[in-house]
């Protein structure tokens, strides 16, 4: 698994993060920094697509918890898509899904996000 990378797609009302690679402390921090920039630009709705990140460790998840916290405080919403079955299981176990819903694909996440207008 190579160096962690991330692409961002900007829509009118929301952004989608496309993570690529292992999400550990370094990957998580990159997501967190990007999220801060996004919030500063006025976006409040974030979708994270994990299709290219099959492995997420507990430190990476803890940073995602911080990200959820920050977006919530900014009166925004976060949702996750394309998680592996194992990662979904872990997210549920850690209680993340109560704050950030998980969708099997990006289309459903977008529908949910737009419904939260």
């Amino acid at each position: 698994m190579g160096q962690f990378q991330m692409d961002v797609k900007f829509d009118r009302d929301f952004v989608v993060f496309y993570t690529n690679g292992y999400i550990n402390d370094l990957g998580g921090e990159k997501i967190e920094r990007t999220c801060e920039d996004i919030l500063r630009e006025g976006y409040r709705k974030v979708i994270v697509n994990f299709s290219e990140s099959p492995i997420i460790n507990s430190i990476g998840i803890s940073i995602l918890i911080g990200l959820i916290d920050r977006v919530k405080r900014a009166k925004g919403s976060v949702c996750f898509t394309n998680l592996t079955l194992n990662n979904t299981e872990v997210f549920e176990f850690m209680g993340l899904t109560q704050y950030a819903p998980v969708f099997p694909n990006e289309e459903e996440a977008v529908r949910f996000t737009m419904g939260h207008a």
């Binding site: 998840i61 803890s62 918890i65 911080g66 872990v90 850690m94």
Partner: protein, 588 residues
Amino acid sequence: MADGELCIQNALRMAPKDLFFDREPEIRTILDMCLQLAALPAQSCALMGPRRAGTSEIAKRIYKELFINQESILPFWYGFDRVFQDPVHFARDYFSQLVRQYLAFQGKDPTLLLPRVIRFEAIERMVTDCSDARLHGLRDDFNAALGDADRTALLAFTLQVPEVLAQGSTGAACVILDHFHRVFRMNWSDGASLTELFPQAMGSPAVPHILTGQAEVLQRHYLSMETTAGRIRRISVAGLDSKRALEAFLAFCKRYDVAVEQEAAAHELHRFQGIPFYMLSVIRRARQEGIALNRWDAIRDTYFAEVEKGEIAFYYDSLLNRCCPGPFAKRDAIRILSHPLLHAGSRLALEELAKRLLLDLDAARVLVDALASSGLLAENYGMVAPVENPVFDDFLRVAHRYWIGRVGSDEIRKDLFRGTQDVPVLTELKKDEVSEPGRKEKHRVSFGLVLPMVSETELVAARAAEQVAERVDFPEEDIGRIRMALIEACINCFEHSGSEDGKIYITFTLDTEKLSIVVEDKGVSFDPKKVPVPHRPEGTGAPSRRGWGLELIRNLMDQVVFEDVPVGTRLRMVKYYPKDTGLKAQAG
């Protein structure tokens, strides 16, 4: 005599001298047995060894020695290169070869051994031209047998020819039968089979026979017959020992003008099992592609290229093709041979194997029988077991991923080979495979892995865990859980051990019911009771950010225990195989 030696080499298609590595001890043992013939009856024997161990080459050199360096024993050599479906054709060919060799030996004229293929009429003329009245009589008797409709009598007479020739000359003979396993493919409707008739010919104390061929086939179909069991001595021919194997590898590299470092060669030598064929395949590829074998990873990568698509792959693929009547059968054969439980050392009942792989029982039986007949699988008492052949295992690993896993060639290389360049996961795992003391070999298999505490090294551990977990019937989601638990265990070591040696020691153990993973460091002890339990959100507030590692491990694995060790921390994690594999029942 140099020309004579060359004639024998060409006639028998012997490997060139510089590509045949010293087998003097084996050759001497068998020769001693033969040379005692005058004083002591010799027993027929079968040279048994792993595939491509070189038993044929040893047999050919025994023939050459007997031909050149002694006069009291008639040497005969017959290679079952062709599979005859007519007893008359076989009888004429066998008779021709033996008579020609007799004339060559008696006349000390090895040129008579060439050309390799000769018409029966030419042999008849050679006999007519010689002054040996006994030989004339033998030819006439043979022609009379040919004219008779009784094919069994013809074959029986033909197989006795060495004894008849010996009685009329030196009194003793030695018959070398190369690739004898092909006899089982000669099936004819008129006349007894060769397997029924050869035991009688081999019974003569003055005419021992030396057989070469696929060990498993000979053992299964010939040596265990009522007429042969206990009467034919089995001589085991292993691969070259490590010292001779290293000498051979270096000599072959020199012969092919391929750069090599002795240390690198010694490091990777275990792959070749002392079998020159594997060494030569790798060296020829290195020469063809201009690869210098002066680094161990260059040897390893060239070896894997050979296993993936080189001569080694072609060789084993051809064997599979011969066993499988069609493409589906070949796929099923690979699935059978790669079944993780077989590789974990279990013996499986044929019915159970068919059930697990969702194969029709009769089709599975035919396939297993064919694979066992080719020595690719062991089958006895209705139980199926793998044969010890690490090179074939490597071939299967690639074939299974390519054909069954439908993983692209590039992906396989990336996963299996390139990914191991920095940290040789696969290599080290395999090399460190050990048997548990006091347990039957392979019922419990352990793999050791030592990793430096550097960034993302936990991914290497995770990759190793996947490889180990794939050897048994873990479903994909369990493999993911094991992978994640191990990643967390490694991170725990990074964060808490403060280890001076900066290493993590991981041991994977597979037994009949579970996978155990021990993760150990030599740092400060870790007290799990002192780790606060992270909270999940209940109504308000986000979940705790830290402290989830241990909690996750406990959730992902079936058992998690911190064991007392004098120094550092040892965490043992256990995952049981899924219940429907039936492994727990087996263990009980």
